[in-house]
Symmetry: C2
């Protein structure tokens, strides 16, 4: 008679443990950047869809970035601005075939503006964490060269691909 | 000698006036629903891309909706939940041809959950405002029948197409 309550208790404890693990900060990126706190609660700057790697993206910004985006103060972005790009594999909406919707979560990647600290990479610190496991991307600190090389074609836009949405 | 300061003063006043106009609430929808305040600051629930009408969308939620989405409490969504869908025409990123990015702002549309008040349309109040002008959509209150008909195929998902993103 006591087996079911005990099992439920064990499941509840396991649930608490899993929640605890999920809420812990992941390891820092190989360049020492820690995952910015609270990014899931940041406001939206833009969205995009890449057909070359079948992924949907939403770009969020911290308060400094949102204020800059809304003021059109983005070339350069101010120190302290952080953007988070959340990337999902394409999926098809089961009830609307012409709609692409977020499938598996690919990664969260960040650009952190500090013109002095990150002068060697256009004033931006780069970091990325992979998947639901939030595994830091890159084998060593040199991974940022890959990020920076990809962003160099938009050097005249302060190395940022994203253009903020303009709302009424 | 005083002309330039006067001109600057007039421009400043005009700027204040324009800002004042832009910040004013648009007229309510034909069914009496007022535009929810502060939706631009809401947090993200999902994104999507529709190839049948070439549009990118970001779906935001008020606090009640975000809490429900993160708890998986979305069938049904709780009373008080509001979702805002911001729709943009597709544009191509000038520096990344395979990337579709937000072009012209099409409209902001809302679903407001109140199972009692909106019982005739699945518990949801619908409203939409068009373009940067924020013109209310619909000639009269019957416009909601168009909204509701389109959402009826997802009645088993509480009439909601959007599935919230799941983040680490």
């Amino acid at each position: 008679m006591r087996k079911i309550p005990l099992l439920l208790g064990a499941l509840a404890l396991a649930g608490i443990a899993l929640t605890g693990i999920a809420a812990e900060a992941p390891p820092p990126a190989p360049n020492g950047i820690a995952m910015p706190e609270g990014y899931k609660d940041w406001r939206v700057i833009a969205v995009s869809h890449r057909t070359d790697n079948e992924s949907l993206r939403v770009i969020l910004g911290n308060d400094v970035a949102i204020e800059a985006a809304r003021a059109g103060n983005t070339n350069p972005w101010p120190d302290g601005a952080i953007m988070a790009k959340l990337v999902f594999k394409d999926a098809t909406h089961e009830a609307w075939e012409a709609a692409t919707v977020p499938g598996k979560f690919v990664h969260a990647e960040f650009m952190i503006k500090d013109a002095g600290k990150f002068a060697e990479t256009g004033g931006w610190g780069f970091a990325r964490w992979l998947g639901q496991e939030q595994k830091p991307y890159g084998e060593d600190a040199d991974f940022v060269q890959e990020c920076f090389a990809c962003h160099t074609p938009v050097a005249d836009n302060d190395y940022v691909f994203t253009k903020p949405i303009i709302l009424p």
